[in-house]
C-alpha cells in the first residue's frame, strides 16, 4: 500500500529489480518490496495513546531529545507536538525564537532543558525530503548539542 499523494514508483521499481535485490543480499524467496505493508498495518495493535510518561523517564536519565515538525504537515501537525512538549511540564530554558539557515528564517524553536521543540518553515511531513538543507543543519546541530 502507498500513502496518499506520495509517489514512490521510482524507488519501488529500483528496489524490486533482481540485480538490486541480489546486491542488497535479499533472499530471492521474499515477496516484492512495497513502501507500506498491509499485512503489518492492518492488524497493528496500538498500546500507547501518548508517550508522555516514556519521555519523562528518558529525560530524567539525562538523555537529550529533539522534537521537530515541518509546519505544513496535517498528518502530525506541529501544533500537536508543540502542545505535547509544553505538556511535559519542563521549565523553558529559552524563549520561542527563530533559527536561521542560509541567511533565512528556517523556522522556530524553544528549549525546555534537555528537550527542544523545533519547526521547519514550509516543510511537510517528510522534512529531510522537503527542506533538505535546513534538515541537515538541524540534524548536525542536535548531534553536537550546539545552538540552532
Amino acid at each position: 500500500g502507498v500513502p496518499p499523494c506520495i509517489n514512490s514508483t521510482a524507488q519501488t521499481n529500483w528496489l524490486n529489480r533482481g540485480d538490486v535485490r541480489k546486491a542488497l543480499h535479499i533472499p530471492a524467496t521474499l515477496p516484492a518490496w512495497d513502501i507500506c505493508s498491509d499485512a503489518v498495518g492492518e492488524r497493528y495493535n496500538i498500546l500507547y495513546w501518548t508517550v508522555k510518561d516514556v519521555y519523562l523517564k528518558l529525560l530524567s536519565m539525562g538523555l537529550r531529545a529533539l522534537v521537530y515538525n515541518g509546519d505544513t504537515d496535517m498528518a502530525c501537525n506541529f501544533l500537536g507536538d508543540q502542545w505535547f512538549v509544553e505538556d511535559l511540564g519542563i521549565k523553558e530554558t529559552s524563549k520561542y525564537k527563530t533559527w536561521i539557515y542560509d541567511d533565512q528564517v528556517a523556522g522556530f524553536y524553544q528549549r525546555f532543558g534537555n528537550i527542544t521543540f523545533l519547526t521547519v518553515k514550509g516543510a511537510g511531513h517528510m522534512v529531510p525530503q522537503w527542506a533538505p538543507g535546513p534538515a541537515l543543519h538541524m540534524f548536525q546541530t542536535f548531534l553536537i548539542n550546539d545552538s540552532y
Binding site: G1, P3, A23, Y48, L63, Y68, M74
Partner: protein, 295 residues
C-alpha cells in the same frame, strides 16, 4: 565490519561513493529477521555518531527515508539510476536504516505472522540493535542516537527506554522525532485549530464545531460524547484527509494516487479513532459541502 553484508556495487550507481555500506539482516525476536542498510559517515566513521533511522506507518519502510529523504543517494524517476543527495545525513554520521517490524519491506519472519504491537516492536528493535553491534563491534563506542518520523513518534521513545535501561553497552546520547505521533488526543485537537486557521473550514463549520464541541471549560474535538460534535469533527476530518489536499504538505500538489492503502486507512482511522465508527458513514461529498445533508 561484517564482510558478507558489504555492498560493493549497486545497479544504477554511476558515481563512486566516499563511504562504505552494508545491507543484510539483523536477528530480532526468534524467527524474525529485520532488513538493515548501514552507510558509514563521509567524514570520520570511527569518531562520528551512529544514528538509527525509523520511518513509521505503522507498517511503512525506512527505505523510504533512505531513498527519498535523508539517505546518501536517491532514485531518479526512471526507476533505474541513482543520484547523490548533497544534504545526506551521512555527511557526518554513520546512518543505520532498519525496516521494522517484520513484514515491512524486506523484513520477514519465518511464520509470516505479522500481527504485532508497540511493545513487541520495541523489543524486536532492541534485539535487532544488539544484533547490529555484534556484526559491527567497532561502532560500539561511538555516540548513538535514535531518530524517527511519524509513527516513529511511538517507535523511538519506546525503543529508547529499552536502550537506556537495558544491559547492552550502547553509548546512547539522545533521540529525536520528526512530525511524530506523540499523543493521539493532542494530534486530533490541534488539527482542528490547524485546519481552521489555515483557511480550510470557513466560518459556518467553525461556528458549528464551537457550538457543538465547546463549552465554558474549553473544546473537546478528540473524544466528545456528543453526536452532533462528532458529525462536525468528521466533516473537518474529511476536508483535511479526503478532499484532495496533500495532507502531508498543505501547499504541495497531491502526487501519486489519492487512493487509500489499507495500511494508510488503518493509520488514519487511528487518528480521530473515537470517530472512526462514524467515519465510514460520512464520506466527504466534494465542494457542495455547505448543502450536504447531515442526516
Amino acid at each position: 565490519q561484517y564482510a558478507p553484508d558489504e555492498v560493493t556495487d549497486l545497479p544504477g550507481m554511476t558515481f563512486k561513493p566516499n563511504y562504505r555500506q552494508w545491507s543484510g539482516y539483523l536477528q530480532a525476536g526468534p524467527g524474525k529477521f529485520l532488513h538493515y542498510w548501514f552507510v558509514t559517515s563521509q567524514r570520520d566513521p570511527t569518531k562520528d555518531p551512529v544514528v538509527l533511522w525509523l520511518n513509521g506507518g505503522p507498517g511503512c519502510s525506512s527505505l523510504d527515508g533512505f531513498l527519498s529523504e535523508n539517505g546518501p543517494f536517491h532514485v531518479n524517476d526512471d526507476g533505474a539510476t541513482l543520484y547523490e543527495n548533497e544534504f545526506s545525513w551521512n555527511k557526518n554520521a554513520n546512518m543505520l536504516y532498519l525496516e521494522s517490524p517484520a513484514g515491512v519491506g524486506y523484513s520477514y519472519s519465518d511464520d509470516h505472522n505479522y500481527e504485532t504491537d508497540d511493545d513487541k516492536v520495541a523489543a524486536d528493535n532492541y534485539q535487532a540493535l544488539q544484533s547490529f553491534f555484534v556484526k559491527f563491534p567497532n561502532f560500539t563506542l561511538n555516540e548513538f542516537f535514535i531518530f524517527g518520523e511519524s509513527y516513529g513518534g511511538i517507535y523511538v521513545p519506546t525503543l529508547s527506554l529499552r536502550v537506556a535501561t537495558g544491559q547492552a553497552k550502547i553509548n546512547f546520547q539522545g533521540f529525536s522525532v520528526g512530525n511524530g505521533l506523540s499523543s493521539f488526543a493532542l494530534n486530533d485537537e490541534s488539527l482542528i485549530y490547524f485546519g481552521y486557521y489555515h483557511g480550510l473550514f470557513g466560518e459556518d463549520l467553525w461556528r458549528d464545531l464551537n457550538d457543538n464541541c465547546c463549552n465554558k471549560g474549553g473544546c473537546n474535538f478528540y473524544n466528545s460524547s456528543s453526536d452532533s460534535c462528532k458529525i462536525q469533527v468528521n466533516i473537518a476530518f474529511s476536508i483535511v484527509y479526503q478532499s484532495g489536499l496533500n495532507e502531508y504538505s498543505l501547499y504541495l500538489d497531491c502526487e501519486g494516487r489519492q487512493g487509500f492503502s489499507k495500511t494508510y486507512e488503518k493509520a488514519m482511522t487511528l487518528l480521530f479513532r473515537n470517530y472512526r465508527k462514524t467515519l465510514h458513514t460520512y464520506k466527504y461529498s466534494g465542494p457542495r459541502l455547505s448543502s450536504v445533508s447531515l442526516n
